[in-house]
Amino acid sequence: MASPVQIRVTINGTLHTHEVEPRLLLVHYLREVCGLTGTHVGCETSLCGACTVLVDGKAVKSCTMFAVQADGCALTTIEGLAVNGDLHPVQEGFWERHALQCGYCTPGMVMTAVQLLADRKRPTREEIAHALRGNLCRCTGYTHIIDAVEHAAARR
């Protein structure tokens, strides 16, 4: 085994320090080392976006980055969105507009949408669909997800 590397990562405002094997994927670090299982592993092959988290404010697929690469970074996962039990506007939108069925894709969808709304105040439906290209959903047919993001944008 290659030498472990020490990393310091701020996740949802809390500093975590661990020794990790370089080949440990960020998503497995979050789920198995930090116990933050809200971030899902869908395809494992970088295609589905279920594992999306924000690294220094940018949406990335956490199955396509090594944990060592997050050293010194600030991460936001789905667990970090609600404040004192109040849902984030995007989460509220998913709730109000029934944007999930099995829920497997939801954490990734929500994180990508959060990033979109950080960049654009009132995206069009086409822009929302374009932004969510990296997130697959096998249940909803996407329409309600776009509704949810629109709902969130209007609420701010």
């Binding site: 370089p22 080949r23 994927l25 990335v60 697929k61 396509t64 290209r133 990296g134």
Partner: protein, 302 residues
Amino acid sequence: MAVEYRVYPAAFEYFAPRTVDEALELLGRYGDEAKILAGGQSLLPMMKLRIAGPRCLVDVNRIAGLDLLRREGDRLEIGALCRHADMVESPLVRDLLPIMTDAARQTADVQVRHRGTVAGSLAHADPAGDWPAALMALDAVVRIAGLGGRRTMPLHEFIVDAYSTRLDAAEMVVGVSIGIPAKPSGGAYVKFEKRAGDFAVASVGVQIDLEGDRCRSVAVSLGALGPTPIRARAAEDVVREAAPSADRVDRAAELVREAAQPFADTRGSVEYKRHLAGVLFRRAFAAALDRARGRQVETIHL
């Protein structure tokens, strides 16, 4: 480590050098067993499937200064850490080389664009890669650093075959330099994909420089239509030094179909891709011409 965590890639030694020289020194020491890690958006998927299993990864993401994107005289200089997303967002790129904005916006999805780099795409040389195809229509030069010093190489010489370049194991791409076309000029990159965010079934880039209503120069590049991007030079000749008439565009589209060397795969048959090449050429040519004439046109429908 007390607990065994889930891992997919084979084990490797990890280095995150702070300077190009340190990176080169590591590459020199590990030779063929080392790989550069840039955006990781091609390398990690391969390592997870164990198609790639480098013993040493040289993560260049922490090297300062490689993320610069700037104009220097009549060239656009793109540092090796410029991400696809940086290109989507850059007003400079949109103004000087809209063909590059097209390519960036159509590459993968937002998550991949946040990490994947232009230089990494060229080094990876995927036959269906959008940067190799789009930049082949421009005066693109790859900036290379090795222990012996620095050198530059035109992109068409750099990529030699599918997934293979002239880069030595102990070298790295430090940037890409693009000649800025004198106005009036315009370019467009059009891609056809089977599903959102996928690699191209076929793609065409066109860059036109105008003089009055004549095309002073025209470059046509084809992506995913051969082992490397292809310049359709016979087609270029038909539309160069002439006012672009419907007849000439028809003839050029015919020559584009002939220049294509597609292979059949799950994305389509040879015949289908050849047909697509002609269609995409017409779209890209029309958009490039419109832009050269100062009109705002979109090549993708959001």
